[in-house]
């Protein structure tokens, strides 16, 4: 029977040792897990912060895209509307100029245009082209410019003259159309400012 009690005591010892080992392992595992959880928390927090910050960045980017493109779209529509209005004002003004009475003031204007043209070309040996409406006025003024002659060709313009040197080498366009074209950017600005743009 002695061998049985020895066996039992050995088994008891093994059981006790095993129990101790198991408990110690469980404790170690618990500590280990606790440490892992502790170390994971800051990592999780930083990961969380990163996700939030990336999300904010992305949201910011999308907001910029949306506001940027809608701002541009609105501005473009405004520009087109303004341009339409400017064009209407322009064509109205051109109509008025076309139908201006060919009176003494207008004759003075034509004389000024011819004067300016001969000065720029540096000669009065010129051929003058004009439209059918201004032909008579030009013809009456030309004697004041010795050597100048009126061309039989007519040009299509709202008023004014095109002056050519007789050898054909130099031409000066002094029609009202050309003058308006040259000043168009300034006139556009003036009209736009009436609409409250560019003040």
């Amino acid at each position: 029977m002695a061998s049985n009690s020895a066996l039992e005591s050995t088994i008891d010892k093994i059981l006790t040792n095993t129990e101790k080992n198991v408990i110690s392992n469980i404790r170690l595992a618990l500590v280990d897990s606790q440490q892992k959880i502790d170390s994971a928390i800051p990592k999780l927090e930083s990961e969380y912060d990163k996700i939030i910050s990336d999300g904010k960045k992305e949201a910011n980017k999308i907001e910029k895209q949306i506001t940027g493109s809608s701002d541009i779209e609105a501005r473009n529509k405004q520009l087109m509307t303004l341009e339409e209005s400017v064009s209407k004002v322009f064509s109205e003004a051109l109509d008025q100029i076309t139908n201006t009475a060919r009176n003494a003031d207008y004759s003075n204007l034509i004389k000024t245009l011819l004067n300016e043209s001969t000065q720029i070309l540096g000669t009065t040996q010129i051929t003058v082209l004009t439209n059918s409406k201004d032909k008579d006025i030009v013809r009456s003024i030309l004697p004041q410019f010795p050597g100048a002659e009126l061309s039989s060709d007519q040009i299509n313009c709202i008023g004014g003259v095109i002056v050519k040197s007789k050898d054909g080498a130099m031409t000066f366009d002094n029609t009202l159309d050309a003058r308006i074209e040259r000043l168009k950017p300034l006139i556009r600005k003036e009209i736009a400012s009436k609409f409250g743009v560019g003040n």
């Binding site: 940027g68 701002d71 520009l79």
Partner: protein, 461 residues
Amino acid sequence: MTTEGGVQYSKIAEIKGPLVIVDDVENAAFDELVEIETKDGERRLGKVLEVGNGKAIVQVFEGTSGLSISGTKAKFVGKVMEMPVSKEVLGRVFDGLGRPKDGLPDPIADKFIDINGEPMNPEQREYPKDFIQTGVSVIDGMITLVRGQKLPIFSGSGMSHNLLAAQIARQASVVGTSDDFAVVFAAIGVQYSEAEYFRRSLEESGALKRSVLFLNTADDPAIERIITPRVALTVAEYLAFELGMHVLVILTDMTNYAEALREISAAREEVPGRKGYPGYLYTDLSTIYERAGKLNGRKGSVTQVPILSMPSDDITHPIPDLTGYITEGQVVLGRDLFRQGIYPPINILMSLSRLMKDGIGEGSTRADHSEVSNQVYDAYSRAQEVRALAGIVGKAGLTEIDLKYMNVGDVFEKEFLSQATDENRTIEETLNVLWKIVSKLPKNEITKIKDKFIDQYYQEE
């Protein structure tokens, strides 16, 4: 602007390359704008290059193809080329001569400014010292751009300089101030697809509303390229010095500009200088680059980032060589890095921002910026040496500290240099990555940073 028009001359003596020689001309002026009218009534613009003996040499911007001696007329407009400017130009797309390319009408002009600009009075110049954040780590952290600086990007054909240019245009901003910021982007002789990419990229990111684009594509006449940077800079100067904005001007590709200059020079039969470029290439480039800066008593600034592709990656080529004399440093793209698929492939060892030291540090970026940047520069340089050594003796022959430097080189390229094209990093983020790299080194290897910064930012493994 004047009500007087110009005289039209019909005696064309010769058409030679991009030049038209007009006979019997009186009273033409140097740089005067000329309207060339073809036999079919088509109009092209040009400018007077030379006058004398009754002749005027006119450079036609839109090229002379289709022009004939008989029937072509040249009208001398009586003024130099001007760009209409106003705040309305923001958000607009123009061609290389400053004409609208976005289907919208001409902007309502506030002013008409001579595109040749006026040289800045050196006495009035203010030393540039304010940081511009590009959102590209390697530039912000190690080759910092400063408001009013001219910092070129030296690239090579096929490399990703256009991606980088577009990214800088989208992301650039001034930090720590509520001042307005604008980008003027001039594409000179780029492919249609690239021009479209720039336009779309700015439009989609919402950055177009603070940008002005000038697009001269490769199929536009080469001569137009002479004008494109000048109209762009004229707008930039107006926005900066009249409206008080901080303006970043990106000019890509200046090599195409220099080639257009060479074409005209050859047509004028001038004595060629190096590689056929005119002897005045340096002077001409300086008339563009020197338009960057800040003025005393004025709020705004013009900062330039010209981009040029070096033929055969040759940094001694006249264009990068002469550019380098005028500008304040350079950003060099490396072919090796590009081949490794790294974006942006900036070779920091060959790059330098001469004004960086004045634009960084406490009050502008962060107190530790200069030191941490120097340390990383030093470590990356050492990493390159170690890599070369490893190529001979193998990794097994390297010491432990060599291996650490090698690791620093890898981390630098993977985490700091490499960046997505849509990744916009703040300066704080950039400096944190620099510290991450420095922290791969043992503390006793950190020789360029004060202890207080090491204590504050060194990240223990």
